[in-house]
Amino acid sequence: MSQLVAVARRTLIKDLRLECRSKDAINSMLFFSLLVVVIFSFSFDPTAEESRRIAGGLIWVAFLFASVVALNQTWARELRNQVLDAYRISPAPANSLFIAKAVGNFLLVTLLEALMAPLFVVFYNLRSIGPEYQLMLVTVLATWALVVNGTFFAAISIRTRSREIMLPLILFPISIPALLAMVDATTQILTGESSPWFWIQLLAVYDVVFTTACLMLFETVLNAE
């Protein structure tokens, strides 16, 4: 157990340091979501009432597409110099690698969301009618839902031809219930029309089910040949 945590911590620190120095993923994600914000604003009239009803879908679609950028480069970095093969023959537990990558992506996407949220508020005149702590809760659960499966599927798509295109193709269909839940929960909190608790529970169940599945199957996928 302690080995699991130690290896995960080291890998996580290594990845964060790499990202801090290069800023490859975060810069492209930020610019990409900024573009989405601007382009979407042409498709409807961003008055306070209108944007409250649409923002839930808009925000999460922007974050979903942007997170694919981070997810795609999760494992790509480890392919150079056969680092991934070195991981496979090392005695380090496979799941610690997975946890490090998933947590790294989670932090990266959370940072993106923290930086983008003010922009959404400014550009779309957003003001939440429901309580803010519910929004925070939805954000944490939803971000984990996106990155846990995303990290796992990135490990699958990296082994196929046309890697970059493959990830969204396999990730999006499976993520549909989570997407529906995060979009509807956000919309209901923003408009304050009805209780978002069903959706929050669904997100929590989704997180638990797929985190378990990822941890059970990751070693198999990592060692597939």
Binding site: N149, F152, F153, I156, R159, T160, R161, S162, M166, L169, I170, F172, P173, I174, I176, P177, A178, L180, A181, D184, F198, W199, L202, V205, Y206, V209, F210, A213, L217, T220, V221, A224, E225
Partner: protein
Amino acid sequence: MKNPVYILAIASLLLLSYGLYQGMVAAPTERTMGDVQRIFYYHVPSAWVAFLLFFVNFIASIWFLVRRNQRVDGLAVATAEVGVVFCTIVLVTGPLWARPVWGIWWTWDARLTSTLVLWLIYVSYLVLRQFGTGGQTPVLASALAIFGFLDVPLVYMSIRWFRTQHPQPVIGGGEGSGIHPAMREALMWNFAAFLVFAALIVFLRYRLEVAEREVESIHAERSVSPAEVRRNA
């Protein structure tokens, strides 16, 4: 080896023709919907067969990950492909019925959307198969199949939260549901026919998959055989 194919082929021919007679002639015409309701005898059996095939795919995927038996993986490929075909039939016949009865082709109702998402998941599985390289693909695809199957209850729960427009189940439904015995008979005959027909196609596809892999391994063996190496040198 040939025998099961002939038996299945003859059985599905007989059952499909009898099912056609049952559905088109023997079953009474529905009072409000008219003859368009008869599409029901193809729509519902296709849906049952598709769901059954996806379930077999799930079991085969787990079995493959535990035992690493190539033939089981062949079964997983065959059931996923044929399942997608039957699921497509469901998604096509549904709107054909809905247009005259509901007045719209499509609605984002629980059962319709769940079936569509299920279709998307298994199409993505087939895409992964297509783009896979080398011997690792079966393992990766099996993992995806397990994820896809785990997703089904979540998809259904999430989408049921919207308003449901699809007719309630008429078989094994609650109080007040149910259909005319003759309709039920036609439905069951067609279900049997589609089941046998699906078994036939899955079996053929499975044999093709196994044969393909044998050919591949023979090619691989031949390319490293001493005679071939000498010829290429």
